[in-house]
Symmetry: C2
Subunit: 301 residues, 2 copies
């Protein structure tokens, strides 16, 4: 029994709705850009299928218009509510998944997020990206290689993360640059650096998307993570995160970015444990390994 | 052969995409409002089906975010780009169709549009709604009855329309009130008034929706029409238009509001033809009949 039949839609009514949907699709028939035509006609098809399936009321239609209007009002150069909406509906991650068909052993991609900034400081191998950001020190090391297993020297590795209070540098609005940097893999494809142990944080909740999460009983929290973007000649650029094994939020990351293959062991070392590079650390620190495998640039999903 | 198979999506990739869509749907499982849960889960299902069918690229995703951002930026108290988007994608008319399942001989509904204003002036039977708006005079008359054929006395009939330059009074921004009024049906259910002959006009085109219409080769024009909203105790409120038979735009109304049953004969009378009420008109005028049949208020689609 379909939804329609349970709600007593007559065949005449159903035909009327189908005719309308077909007429809207046909309005794009003379679009000269074949890809744009495909996108618009598919959008109309799925949009009308949604409206008809749920039997959207006129009050609900008004609420949807108000939601979009509120999202537009809160969006500015530093706040992007439409991206947050796409993220929380899983549309961002689905787009990533569609465009990053995993082949062989290449590392999986995940969402880019809104906190990347161009022009991060460069650090030497073994350097520290924190630049004063608060948090437990974390030693990150690994290799960059191709799917053939050969090391990739000179790969540009961009990393960024929130501090232990759950904020990225740009969220403070005071111009600080912290917990972000770039470095390069060595001749043998290896890399290593100090960062801070990732901690969970909520997405911005003071707009309509936050209200939607609250109204639907969803958590606004993101699972703890550290962002990577890795570029090398001849390789497909990789945008990904690593997540912390054991984090209670792995199963409920509010932007659906978690991939099993990206969950890593962050091993906690007690205070006084010698570090890999002889650095003296007050208190505990963690250590994680992340071996990165880049797909060749000509492989697309 | 499905779209997926033509583009070489592996079963593993397809399973990965399906798993993600299912995970996003499941994130709404604990929503306590059953209708909100139904709406969000259906939205996610159709949104992800769209993304997967068209294999949305990351560049196209960015373009969609920019489109919504631009729509938000241009929307204010007097301009509603999200309603215009809904209108031009046929979503507004589909919502009207879903909620106004036609029963028996009740008059069909169509889109409300953005130009209704509360508090219009009242006129007596046979009065003139134009209040100085430019246009060819038009005599409109008819009856209001129930689906049983009995006349409906005292129905409140609200009417509004654009002037011959294609603008509603509110678009001038000078506070004028013109080409809008309300009146009541008489004891025998009849009504009559003077308005102006409807002419075609474009929807606002200086925003992202206008760019979408242009990029896809669609016309921004609305077919000529006169708005009605009719309310009476015990009857379902009717929001509709009447359209002008012979209008070249009937087949391409950009908000898909035209219904065959709403196309009426506006008969043009040469200069000097006596009017039904003895009014002296300079030049030609038109005459149209619109018999309105209201559904009982307990009938829903």
């Amino acid at each position: 029994m379909t939804l329609s039949s349970t709600r007593g839609i007559s065949p005449e009514q159903s035909a009327r709705e189908e005719e309308l949907a077909a007429r809207v699709q046909a309005s794009f028939d003379s679009c000269r850009d074949p890809r744009l035509k495909e996108l618009m006609q598919a959008l109309v098809k799925h949009l009308h299928a949604f409206l008809r399936e749920v039997r959207l009321t006129e009050e609900e239609w008004h609420a949807a218009i108000e939601f979009l209007t509120a999202a537009g009002r809160i969006t500015d150069d530093r706040r992007q509510e439409f991206i947050l909406l796409s993220d929380t509906l899983g549309a961002s991650m689905q787009t990533v998944a569609i465009n990053n068909d995993v082949r062989g052993d290449a590392t999986e991609a995940t969402v880019f997020g809104p906190f990347f900034v161009e022009g991060s400081p460069g650090i030497e191998p073994g350097g520290d990206i924190s630049f004063g950001a608060a948090g437990e020190p974390c030693w990150i090391e690994g290799t960059v290689s191709g799917v053939d297993g050969d090391p990739v020297p000179g790969a540009r590795i961009e990393v960024w993360e929130a501090d232990e209070d759950g904020f990225y540098d740009v969220q403070y609005g005071d111009g600080r640059v912290a917990a972000r940097a770039h470095l390069f893999s060595g001749e043998d494809g290896t890399y290593r650096f100090w960062g801070i142990t990732p901690t969970p944080y909520p997405v911005p909740c003071d707009g309509p998307v936050g209200k939607m999460l609250e109204a639907t009983g969803r958590s606004p929290m993101r699972a703890s993570h550290l962002h990577f973007m890795v570029e090398a000649p001849g390789c497909r650029t990789l945008v990904t995160h690593i997540f912390v094994r054991g984090d209670a939020l792995l199963g409920s990351d509010t932007v659906f970015g978690v991939r099993e293959s990206l969950i890593k062991d962050f091993e906690r070392r007690p205070p006084g444990t010698p570090t890999p590079d002889g650095r003296v650390v007050d208190g505990s620190w963690t250590q994680v390994r992340f071996d990165i495998v880049l797909a060749p640039s000509d492989v697309r999903g």
